[in-house]
């Protein structure tokens, strides 16, 4: 289920948030090329991220990744942020989606997303409908969070030996893990990997 604007207004009312319609419009309508010329209609400026992007992504990763993943923050820094550092348009979309998620957290829970408890972070994503949303780079906020935050994290994780091993494959697609593993009956010990990193390029 995807959240509609009506769903969001109801949700905001339910948590007692005091917001104007313009805020919701600004948050839940995807940005358009002509958004700037619309400034007089009650919309607000695009929300900004109150924490470092890495903090937010790592906080989301704690929710999206299974429990017990070691070295998560370094992984996010290296393989999530690092992967797209030379893709400015993508990075801009990621930054915007992260800022939108952070703004929702501040509105609904009164704190930056990264500062919320993990179970609250998880619930917030599910309340937004992100778990069932299609990933759409220029879609609704829910769809953009699915695309830029959740699926970005999932892609990096499950295309790495680290994530793959949890589900039985040490050389998942997207990872250049060589041509030995497909010949083997079972997973090699993880120490046999030439590195544990995701998406080694």
């Amino acid at each position: 289920m995807e959240l509609t604007r009506r769903d969001v207004l109801a949700a905001l009312a339910a948590v007692g948030a005091t917001v104007g319609g313009g805020v919701v419009a600004g948050r839940y309508d995807p940005p358009r090329a002509d958004a700037a010329s619309d400034a007089g209609s009650g919309s607000v400026a695009e929300p900004t991220l109150s924490t470092d992007l890495l903090d937010l992504l790592d906080a989301a990763a704690e929710v999206v990744y299974p429990t017990g993943v070691d070295g998560r923050r370094t992984f996010v820094e290296t393989y999530v942020l690092g992967r797209t550092e030379n893709r400015p348009a993508y990075r801009e979309g990621l930054q915007e989606a992260a800022a939108q998620l952070d703004a929702v957290a501040r509105d609904w829970r009164g704190q930056p997303y990264a500062d919320l408890d993990a179970d609250v972070r998880d619930k917030l994503l599910r309340d937004l409908g992100v778990e069932t949303a299609e990933p759409v780079a220029d879609g609704t906020i829910t769809e953009r969070i699915r695309f830029y935050v959740v699926n970005d994290l999932l892609f990096a994780f499950y295309s790495s030996p680290t994530g793959g091993r949890l589900v039985g494959i040490e050389n998942p697609i997207g990872h250049p893990g060589g041509i030995e593993s497909y010949q083997r009956e079972s997973m090699s010990p993880s120490s046999a990997e030439h590195s544990g990193g995701a998406n080694e390029r």
């Binding site: 299609e134 499950y158 949890l166 494959i169 050389n171 697609i173 997207g174 990872h175 041509i179 390029r201």
Partner: protein, 545 residues
């Protein structure tokens, strides 16, 4: 309209500063830069000919392959090869043919997205009429093509082994060692041995070790449609060799039509358009059509003139007709043990044991898949949960799948055809291709036979069969063939055995559009062999000039 050097400047409005204006009259103009066009361009340029290649699509930079791979794996991203939209519009009739999933326009053509399986046709494929009274004979036989097959294998860098008892004669080992069999092949091997089915290696146009300045396979697992390592052969390789030998390759310039001389005996020019809509005329002494099984026919039809109202090279009426593809047949299920799938994106074992059977006479070959069932990362990206729940879901869905796929021959049928759609136009105002394609009862019967064998193997293996792709669910293997068939009779075919048009002495056609029948082998090695043979004949005609 012909407005050379028009409003968009010399780069045709692309903005990259690349000159897209025509060259002075060339020796050879090649339309299309897939494997057929690239090999011809390279051979002729290497022999000193002045060659211009016109490519409808763009150049895709190799440095972008990892990003393209991400586009492929992740939902919600653009097609990594940018197919679709007004440039590539088409219509279909009969069974839907997903044309834009079946081809790529770009420097390298459809080898950019192909999987890279490269088998030779069998001897019988060249004489289906003589042997079985079906289809039509080729004007050449296997012996005529054998040395060119070897040449093509060297060009691609084919990894293979001489362990296939059903393969046609070959004179030398493959250029590269075969990829070792997969673990799941070993599971199939026991079942097949009990059923007396011979498994053997798969010839792959993929480096099992470094070859021709390209890397060995690194196991990215996304061969089709993206190989980020460069181990998979693409025709970019021979485009680069052609350019190094002096050929000029112009991208983003779809050819609109060919223009013939007043006598209607030769082609004068290929008229191409740049993205800004400007048309240019590339003149040349010889013209080679190499733009795929649909666009080769379409371009001839688009080039209709007062003298040739039914299109060029079409006095036989065969242009666009006899459109064929291979049909996918498959079955799969699960075992109660790990099967180690989706590590690599290619297959390592198949069987040609049933290929030459006579009941039915349609060829069929079976492949033991190394990518059965879901890939965890792709499933995760579409899952409706995350965290520990997602791991649980992926552990349930991944790990025990097996599948046997296969290709089934479709015999030529004049009613399966490419025409011009009078009601739809592309981005340059040309009628789009209209694909009329259906399966006959013969083909459906052959698919059912493939399913029977596949089920027998899976049952012997102890698998629970969960899916079958039979006559209802089947689809094309994206091998467009037959639309400019070769033959010795000008009244029944478009080109001769060398690929030269019967009607126009300086027009050559290469690619799978010239196949009179299609067999059931992936066609690209045969495309390459025929192209090398055509290049030799064309070269001889250049030296005669």
């Amino acid at each position: 309209m012909s407005a050379d050097g028009g409003s968009g400047g010399s780069d045709g409005g692309v903005g990259d500063g690349v000159d897209r204006t025509p060259s002075p009259r060339a020796d050879v103009c090649v339309v299309g830069s897939g494997p057929a066009g690239a090999l011809v361009a390279h051979r002729l340029a290497d022999e000193g000919a002045n060659v211009v290649v016109l490519e409808a699509g763009p150049r895709f930079e190799f440095a972008e392959r990892l990003e393209q791979q991400e586009q492929h794996i992740r939902r919600g991203m653009e097609d990594p090869w940018e197919m679709g939209g007004p440039r590539d519009a088409y219509s279909t009739e009969g069974r839907h043919y997903p044309l834009n999933a079946a081809r790529v326009k770009g420097v390298g053509g459809s080898t950019l997205h192909w999987q890279g399986m490269v088998m030779r046709l069998h001897e019988r494929d060249f004489e289906m009429q003589t042997r079985y009274g079906v289809g039509t004979d080729w004007p050449i036989d296997y012996d005529d093509l054998q040395s060119y097959y070897a040449d093509a294998e060297r060009a691609f860098g084919v990894a293979g082994a001489m362990d296939n008892p059903y393969a046609p004669p070959r004179e030398e080992p493959f250029p590269l060692p075969a990829f070792p069999p997969s673990y799941s092949d070993s599971l199939f091997a026991e079942a097949c041995e009990r059923l007396e089915i011979d498994m053997h290696s798969v010839p792959n146009a993929r480096n099992s070790e470094p070859y021709d300045d390209r890397a060995p396979c690194l196991g990215y697992g996304t061969c089709k449609p993206i190989c980020p390592s460069g181990a998979k052969y693409t025709a970019e390789s021979h485009v680069a060799k052609a350019e190094a030998a002096g050929a000029r390759v112009i991208d983003r310039v779809p050819v609109q039509r060919l223009e013939h001389d007043d006598a209607g005996e030769t082609i004068d020019a290929a008229v191409y358009a740049t993205p800004d809509g400007t048309e240019h005329r590339q003149t040349a002494g010889q013209f080679v059509l190499a733009c795929g099984g649909v666009e080769n026919a379409r371009l001839l039809l688009l080039s209709a003139s007062e003298q040739y109202p039914d299109g060029l090279a079409n006095s036989s009426g065969a242009v666009g007709r006899f459109f064929m593809d291979h049909l996918f047949a498959g079955a799969g299920g699960r075992l109660d043990e790990p099967t180690r799938q989706n590590h690599v994106g290619f297959n390592t074992s198949e069987t040609h044991q049933f290929y030459d059977d006579t009941e039915p006479v349609e060829g069929l070959k079976l492949e033991f898949l190394n990518y059965a069932g879901p890939s965890p990362v792709i499933e995760a990206l579409g899952a409706e949960t995350w965290g520990d729940e997602l791991v649980e879901q992926l552990n349930e869905s991944y790990g025990t799948h097996v599948a046997v796929g296969g290709l089934v021959e479709q015999l030529p049928d004049a009613e399966n055809r490419i025409t011009l759609d009078p009601d739809r136009r592309d981005d340059h105002g040309n009628p789009v291709p209209h694909v009329e394609w259906s399966l006959g009862e013969r083909t459906e019967r052959a698919i059912r036979r493939a399913n029977e064998i596949q089920h027998a193997i899976l049952e012997e293996l102890g698998a629970s069969i969960e899916w079958t792709v039979g006559p209802e669910a089947t689809g094309p293997a994206y091998h467009q063939m037959g639309t400019t068939r070769m033959g010795s009779d000008p009244e029944r075919s478009v080109v001769d055995a060398d690929g030269r048009a019967h009607d126009l002495s300086n027009l050559w056609i290469v690619g799978s559009s010239v196949f009179p029948t299609g067999g059931a082998m992936n066609p690209t090695l045969t495309i390459a062999a025929l192209s090398l043979r055509a290049a030799e004949a064309l070269s001889a005609s250049l030296s005669d000039c």
